[in-house]
């Protein structure tokens, strides 16, 4: 599970996001070869040639393995979104230190090697591979036999600071990180002035059953990324395994709210399973002040999930623009497709998002009132907005623009009022605010909806991995671009090499409605 925040301070170099496309009159009815893509065989993981083709308004990755033959995978459910997304590129940032050399080429020299195009916006530290769930959709492979030592963890934190200088977010994950026997100690080690935010990615079991734990998290200003796919029970079981997951999540939410923990909801969306619940998740975000953002993760079929999930057709999956389209449909147009953009910091195929401004009458997406280029400027490389001078400038300019073009933009009066209030709150003239306080105040006014698409062997593209900003941190100092680690390195990680251990899986003993799903042991 990966958290939503991603931050770098790259310089915007988005190329002409207003660019239009010219089509021949038969382009819509026929297949279009768009570009080359170095990819992997879905069966044997070998690096092979692929091509992106546009067909029926969608984009497919077509490939031909010399051993396993022709294959195709859907990489974008909306060719228009795909074409437009390519314009959302910006300069990457460089880390202070690269840990590996370029020797044989991508993706065998991770990480990071000097040919990588983006620093670690979002380092993830998997502190344990124990987990108390056995989710059929899991993208890692938990072997229940490893716990990171305190020294290893401290070494990683030191190394991150050496490589990055400052970090906007560090994420603790796993397995289930709350199962780590010295969890609180690790949280405290991560508490460094150079690290603005520490988040944990959790299934919420401990939050649901241990209120004091939630209080401890709140005390430390820990951000919780709560895995929550939907509130609908049958759908949940095929993703998460047996057990009453809905009740579990509801309890977790109650406790987190009560304790005042800043929470993000992370929903894995699988086609035909819980895609009809997308609107419910948006509603959850909008109706709860303590929930700051919502992250949709279109299912990627790798790791445990790659082997155990219900058979899926790689040509018929959920992609980022599909989530966007469902949001529009399921919120009945409260938000529309044009409210969402790709995030330029990583590869434009990896993230999509929108920022929502809280007005007294509801939420208004920023792209509706902020000039597109200024929006990208303010948004780029930010998971949660960084209320720096640049954002202040953008907000002030937005106020000026709204003032002069009030008739052109609906709800402009409301937006103006809110923006002015937000500026007063976040950049008060009579107070010198620390950045944390400003962040906190900003969080009351802005919510975010993200989409983060991981790759599996069907959808892997070397193109995308080169600008990955979400890196797994290894005790030996390497930082591994997430999808490369999941597909090529995780199975060989010597830390996990011992015999497979065992953990009690929550919900396995419970009666479930419908067929019991096979577990790893079977």
């Amino acid at each position: 599970m990966t958290p939503p925040e991603s931050e770098t301070c790259g310089v915007t170099d988005a190329r002409n996001v207003h660019r239009t496309f010219t089509f021949t009159d038969d382009a819509a009815n026929r297949e279009v070869f768009h570009s080359f893509s170095r990819t992997t065989c879905g069966e044997c993981a070998k690096l092979i040639d692929g091509m992106r083709v546009i067909r029926d308004g969608q984009v497919f990755l077509k490939k031909n393995c010399p051993q396993h033959g022709k294959q195709e995978a859907l990489i974008s459910g909306d060719a228009k979104w795909f074409l437009r997304s390519l314009q959302f590129t910006s300069k990457g940032s460089q880390p202070h230190v690269y840990s590996t050399e370029v020797k044989d080429g991508c993706p065998t020299d991770c990480g990071l090697c000097p040919d990588h195009e983006q620093h670690s916006c979002l380092p993830i530290i998997e502190i344990t591979n124990h987990c108390n769930l056995e989710c059929p959709i899991c993208i890692v492979q938990n072997r229940h036999n490893y716990e990171m030592t305190v020294d290893e963890f401290r070494g990683i934190i030191d190394g991150l600071i050496e490589k990055e200088g400052t970090l906007d977010t560090v994420n603790l994950s796993g397995g289930e990180p709350t199962m780590h026997s010295q969890f609180m100690e690790l949280l405290d080690i991560a508490n460094r002035p150079e690290i603005s935010r520490v988040s944990i990615s959790t299934n919420g079991l401990k939050c649901a059953t241990d209120y004091a734990f939630c209080e401890a998290l709140a005390e430390r200003n820990t951000y919780v990324n709560l895995q929550l796919d939907a509130l609908d029970l049958p759908g949940l079981q095929s993703l998460r395994g047996s057990g009453d997951h809905a009740t579990l999540k509801k309890k977790a939410l109650l406790n987190l709210e009560k304790a005042g923990v800043r929470t993000t909801i992370v929903s894995t969306v699988a086609k035909g399973v819980n895609d009809h619940q997308i609107g419910e998740c948006v509603k959850l975000l909008l109706e709860n002040d303590f929930i700051l953002s919502l992250m949709f993760q279109p299912a990627a079929y790798t790791g445990y999930g790659g082997r155990h999930f219900l058979p899926h057709d790689p040509k018929n999956t959920i992609t980022i623009p599909d989530v966007v389209r469902e949001i529009e449909t399921q919120t009945e147009g409260q938000f529309v497709q044009s409210d969402f953009m790709p995030l330029p910091c990583s590869h434009p195929g990896c993230f999509g998002l929108t920022y929502l401004l809280k007005t007294e009458d509801g939420y208004v997406p920023f792209p509706r009132f902020l000039d597109l280029d200024r929006y990208i400027d303010a948004v780029e490389n930010r998971g949660t907005m960084r209320p720096d001078a640049r954002l202040e400038g953008a907000m002030r300019d937005a106020i000026d623009d709204l003032w002069t073009s009030q008739d052109a933009i609906p709800d402009s009066e409301k937006i103006l009022k809110t923006l002015k209030g937000a500026i007063r709150l976040m950049y008060p003239e009579d107070e010198a605010l620390k950045i944390e306080e400003r962040v906190r105040r900003g969080e009351g006014v802005v919510k975010t909806i993200f989409m983060h698409a991981f790759m599996d062997l069907h959808t892997f593209e070397v193109d995308r991995i080169k600008k990955c900003c979400t890196h797994y941190a290894m005790p030996d100092g390497r930082l591994m671009p997430g999808c490369a680690y999941n597909l090529f390195y995780r199975d060989k990680d010597p830390r996990y090499g011992g015999e497979i251990g065992s953990t009690e899986i929550w919900g396995a003993a419970e009666e479930s409605q419908g067929t019991r799903l096979p577990t790893a042991a079977e």
Binding site: D26, V32, T89, E101, C106, E117, P193, I435, E436, D463
Partner: protein, 513 residues
């Protein structure tokens, strides 16, 4: 536990951005050993570079376009493709471009077959991008050509165009007979790429005229010194005389310079003028210099020029009348391969680019069935729409009166209401009033882009029905082709190939290249 002390600085020190923007990736070749390597596409200071890594030869970089805007603009043109009917080779572990052809990865059938009918050449140009063999040279037989045509016709409903090249095709004693075979097979456009030295023979020219053969004459420079540098000989005077002869006998011609930065680029206006003032010259085809082959491999890389540079020079040539927006890619090839501008020559002596008469979209659509605009229904409809639009909004164009009368005349002559003229006749009428600038960028091992070769619509067909895209053939396969690969020549090439490419920009960290 108390909350941590807040950050010491409100705005932390700005991170160091990469000097470039990473746009995407493709696959290219190592400039030294030609193995396939990943190529990152970098946008830097408004230009486009391939940044590559070869495990054996390290990091390397090549300038691909002096304008990132053109590079991205070209990619905004979207056209479908028609894969070849028959796949001749399996995809191997090495992948593209080592499995030509076509292999299953190839995306486009052959619209322009290029036939090297002989390996002999009477020049040894320092810029030559093929490999020529004069000792016991290859000469295609009539039977071989017939076999090739059979395969080509199988793949096409109508074979539109064919190009004879070499070496120097006029050195083939049976050139005329070979042309006849093509004409009899129903191919309408017979083109010959030639240095023209043998066309001083008026009888020969007359016979070519009788076959409606089109001469693609290479003419690179009017300056003696530059001529020497590029072609290794003084050819200009002769070529201009040949042009006069072609004009005299109304042989349809194209002027084709290979343009090198800092050498003959400044002569583009003169070459443009050459085309505009000769009624039998229908197009100017500008080739960017290509650093492969027996000459190219050793040529000074400083003279690498890219398509947007040639847009600039055409702008100079036309006094600003023709801009990059008047050019479109070919829908049939990869958008980075061709940049095409068509002009209507007005009866009163002026000219207007098609894009101003209608739009880039329209020009793009006119090119969606063939590399060169066909005088078919689509063109007729476009002419009619232009008339309608100008009729209702004549102030839109300064030249609308002249345009209207020219197009009306063309419609009358090409699409008379009571007659259905054959395509060749229509073509000849059109070619009196339409000229074009084609900018064509061949790839060498440094600039090689697998995406471009996958959508290549130009190829070298063989008697066994295989077909190899031209740039693959130039860079990889010709050297393995005994008919063309002279071993002494190959040795010379290896000696002249730069050992180390012009040094890549520092790795972003300053790590050793």
């Amino acid at each position: 536990m108390t909350p941590p002390p807040s950050s010491s600085c409100d705005d932390p020190p700005e991170r160091v951005a990469t000097p470039h923007t990473y746009y995407s990736m493709t696959k290219s070749l190592c400039g030294t050993c030609k193995r396939s390597v990943d190529a990152k596409i970098h946008l830097r200071e408004g230009q486009v570079y391939f940044h590559k890594f070869c495990p054996a030869h390290g990091h390397q970089e090549v300038l691909v376009s002096t304008s990132a805007e053109w590079y991205l603009d070209a990619l905004s043109f979207i056209a479908p493709n028609t894969p070849p009917k028959t796949v001749k080779r399996d995809v191997s572990d090495r992948g593209c471009p080592f499995d030509c052809g076509p292999c299953d990865s190839h995306q486009q059938k052959t619209y322009l077959p290029v036939i090297p009918i002989t390996s002999a050449c009477n020049l040894d140009c320092p810029i030559c991008y093929t490999v020529n063999k004069n000792e016991d040279p290859h000469r295609m037989t009539k039977e071989q050509l017939k076999e090739i045509l059979e395969h080509l016709l199988e793949d096409h409903e109508e074979l539109d165009i064919i190009n004879f090249t070499g070496g120097e095709p006029t050195l083939h004693p049976e050139l005329l007979e070979l042309l006849e075979i093509c004409r009899d097979a129903g191919i309408r456009r017979l083109t010959i790429s030639t240095n023209g030295l043998k066309l001083k023979d008026e009888e020969y020219v007359k016979r070519l005229a009788a076959l409606d053969a089109r001469i693609v004459l290479s003419l690179d420079s009017y300056e003696k010194e530059t001529d020497m540098k590029l072609l290794g000989a003084n050819t200009t005077k002769r070529k201009l005389e040949v042009l006069d002869l072609l004009q005299k006998h109304d042989v349809c011609a194209t002027i084709l310079p290979a343009v090198a930065a800092g050498l003959n680029d400044k002569e583009v206006p003169k070459l443009f003028n050459e085309m505009m003032t000769r009624p039998n010259v229908v197009s100017l085809e500008l080739h960017t210099l290509c650093f492969t082959g027996q000459g190219g491999v050793g040529f000074d890389r400083q003279s690498r020029i890219t398509i947007p540079d040639l847009h600039y020079w055409i702008g100079v040539a036309s006094d600003g009348k023709l801009t990059p927006q008047d050019f479109v890619p070919s829908p049939l090839a990869h958008p980075h391969c061709y940049s095409i501008c068509y002009m209507l020559m007005l009866d009163d002596g002026g000219y207007v680019p098609f894009t101003k008469l209608s739009s880039r979209q329209t020009l793009f659509s006119l090119l969606q069935d063939s590399l060169y605009i066909e005088p078919r229904e689509r063109l007729e409809n476009v002419f009619r729409s232009i008339i309608d639009e100008l009729w209702s909004d004549p102030d839109r164009l300064e030249e609308s009166e002249a345009v209207l009368s020219t197009i009306k005349r063309l419609l009358r002559e090409m699409f008379p209401p009571d007659e259905d003229l054959d395509l060749l006749t229509r073509q000849k009428i059109a070619e009196r009033s339409v000229k074009a600038v084609y900018i064509h960028s061949h790839m060498d091992e440094e600039s090689f882009d697998v995406a471009r070769i996958m959508k290549c619509c130009v190829g070298v067909p063989e008697t066994d029905g295989t077909n190899i895209p031209t740039c693959s053939y130039n860079v990889i396969y010709r050297e393995q082709d005994e008919r063309f690969a002279d071993s002494a020549m190959l040795e010379r090439m290896e000696e002249n190939r730069p050992r180390r490419l012009p040094s890549a920009a520092q790795d972003t960290t300053g790590a050793p290249a």
